[in-house]
């Protein structure tokens, strides 16, 4: 466990590990096999206080430090990637409010979200905007006492069951990134929000993602902060979000390595455990080293969370390295399991499928490299 954690935080992580192994692990294979939405765990997560663990106590959270939150997300992802994905999408939504909204909106939404009574979604990605969110086409134009929100979003986690969606749209189409504003949209309360069927995905099959289209009225008090501040909010949220993505990839990789180590001890070939062969030992050693490096980079970024400073480069390091290393670790773990690893009787193929998206979403590996290079050269 990380030395960054105080004794209460260590107790929190211990309790999450315990909860995860008893509640999340037993359901993980079925969530994947049947594409069951991981929100089935929402009541249990809410009772534990996990749905609000990214928030300060003032908004119903528990005020975990960045490193503690990193360890918590890692533990949940090690148990069930889909659940971690659903949970961290909720965090992106609440984090948007925490970092961008005025006090009244925070007080209206966050305590219920922290208690797990309201599920959040974060809607930034658009079909035509690719990796540059400033290219978004969605617009919010002044309309009476509020805005007319028009446009569409894609791959929006949780949208199908979300009680509130943080939607990013342009209030000034000519102003580029500075023309982006963020709004809270409550689909059950207003007309004109259409949420499609969840996408059929390769992995994280219980972390459902949906297409959404809007043509709806949003009251002005649902705007996060001032007009034009949405892009800055989104970038800050994604700095945090990338740590959580890194933590998830590290968690799944940890589960894969643990499985590989036990298998290497138990599986016998020619009268001796396969772990006694040097070729396999070196694979395990490489995996353990890469896992430790991924965690170290994740914690380095996590220490800067909440300090007010931007830390895009650290969070890009963490996200890039963890998502790429986790893929290699899980791939080796499957290789160690041989043909059995390829079957659905073992979780290895699920880990690998779940991990593939981590090299793509919340900024692909290529985008992370661009962020790092720009920071080096600027």
């Amino acid at each position: 466990m990380s030395v960054d954690l105080n004794s209460e935080e260590q107790a929190v992580i211990g309790q999450i590990e315990r909860f995860s192994s008893k509640v999340l692990v037993p359901a993980a294979a079925e969530i994947d096999a049947k594409s069951r939405f991981a929100t089935l765990h929402r009541p249990a997560l809410a009772e534990m206080g996990i749905m609000g663990m990214n928030l300060p106590e003032a908004y119903g959270g528990i005020g975990l430090s960045g490193p503690a939150l990193y360890c918590a997300v890692e533990a949940i992802a090690a148990a069930c990637g889909s659940t971690a994905s659903m949970l961290t999408a909720h965090f992106l939504a609440t984090d948007s409010l925490l970092l961008g909204a005025d006090e009244a909106l925070k007080q209206r939404i966050l305590p219920a979200a922290a208690a797990g009574e309201a599920l959040g979604a974060f809607a930034l990605t658009e079909p035509m905007a690719g990796s540059n969110p400033a290219d978004m086409r969605s617009t919010a134009t002044r309309d009476g006492d509020g805005y007319r929100l028009k446009g569409s979003k894609c791959f929006i986690s949780n949208a199908g069951e979300a009680d509130f969606i943080v939607v990013y749209a342009k209030t000034d189409s000519a102003a580029g990134a500075r023309g982006v504003s963020a709004f809270v949209v409550e689909p059950a309360r207003i007309e004109g929000v259409e949420i499609g069927r969840p996408e059929e995905t390769m992995g994280l099959r219980g972390g459902h993602v949906f297409p959404i289209s809007f043509d709806c009225h949003v009251p002005a008090e649902n705007r996060l902060g001032d007009e034009g501040t949405g892009f800055r909010t989104a970038m800050k949220v994604l700095d945090n979000g990338r740590i959580e993505v890194a933590a998830q990839a590290t968690g799944i990789a940890r589960a894969a390595l643990d499985a590989a180590v036990s298998y290497a001890r138990e599986r016998e070939v020619g009268g001796q455990p396969i772990g006694s062969f040097q070729g396999l030992q070196w694979m395990l050693a490489d995996s353990a080293t890469e896992l430790a490096a991924a965690r170290a980079l994740g914690l380095q970024a996590a220490r800067k969370r909440g300090t007010g400073a931007r830390y895009s480069r650290d969070s890009a390091f963490a996200k890039l390295y963890a998502s790429e290393a986790a893929w290699r670790i899980a791939d080796r773990a499957l290789q160690i399991h041989g043909g059995y690893g390829y079957t659905r009787d073992f979780p290895l193929e699920r880990y690998l499928r779940d991990l593939r998206i981590f090299r793509i979403y919340e900024g692909s590996s290529e985008i992370q490299r661009t962020i790092i290079a720009r920071d080096l050269l600027s």
Binding site: E8, A11, F19, M48, I50, I62, G63
Partner: protein, 249 residues
């Protein structure tokens, strides 16, 4: 009414126990430690009694090293109101613990003391009974049901061959068995709040108890490895083996 719940810090039940190379005991270095599972059941029962309006205050007490404070915090996170740590690095034996608990009981005057029936490290199954004897209180051990009445408590006990219900006059000692309840998970907010709940720190000397061990450990050994089984070709061979070799038929 106050309920006192003594809790012990033990090696976690998920940990594979390893004997020290010199045979003097079990290796505890860098091993995960937790609250004794039977004590968790005791804490849970106390909380349920408070939730049912039958108790006002729950005090958890632990006799052990500084780290036993974490065990008390676990109890506080589950819902106990305050803790008492009786700090000692000595190997604690049931009689010494019972003597300390007797003093704590005399100070705190609880109406009920609920303990785990035994700790999963040394499996002594003695502390509750010794405490009852020292105090001259009634005891209901191996409880699978606790029904608190006016001035009495009905305790259903798991005994060989069935269940036995005894009615005890309060104050009384109850020790918990596995089926009494399923302890709750402390929620994360409660874990964080537990740090604000008070823990009194005491020492055995404060209670005038000598905790020096009365027992000497001669050696500690791993249980013998299980022998591999035998495959039989058919039922006839199985029956023959059961008859002639195992002698069970």
């Amino acid at each position: 009414m106050k309920i006192l719940v003594p809790v012990k810090r033990v090696i976690d039940y998920n940990v594979k126990v390893r004997v020290k190379a010199d045979g003097t005991g079990v290796d505890l270095a860098n091993v995960k430690m937790s609250m004794n599972p039977f004590d968790e059941i005791a804490v849970e029962e106390a909380i349920r009694l408070r939730e049912a309006g039958k108790a006002e205050e729950i005090i958890v007490v632990s006799v052990g090293p500084q780290q036993a404070q974490e065990t008390l915090r676990t109890g506080l996170a589950m819902g106990a109101d305050r803790g008492i740590l009786v700090k000692t690095d000595a190997t604690t034996e049931p009689l010494a613990v019972a003597k300390i608990l007797k003093k704590v009981v005399e100070e705190e005057q609880p109406g009920l003391v609920i303990l785990g029936k035994q700790a999963i490290d040394d499996d002594c199954n003695q502390t509750g009974q010794m405490l009852a004897a020292l105090l001259g209180w009634s005891q209901g051990t191996f409880a699978s049901k606790v029904d608190l009445g006016e001035g009495t408590v009905d305790v259903t006990r798991e005994v060989d061959g069935g269940l036995q219900t005894v009615k005890l006059k309060l104050p009384a000692i109850v020790t918990t068995d596995l089926r009494l309840n399923e302890p709750r998970y402390a929620s994360l907010p409660n874990i964080m709040k537990a740090k604000k709940k008070p823990i009194d720190e005491k020492s055995p000397e404060d209670y005038g108890v000598d905790v020096a061990p009365r027992l000497e450990v001669l050696k500690t050994v791993e249980p013998p490895a299980r022998q591999a089984g035998v495959k039989v070709a058919d039922v006839a061979e199985l029956v023959a083996k059961l008859k002639n070799e195992a002698g069970v038929l």
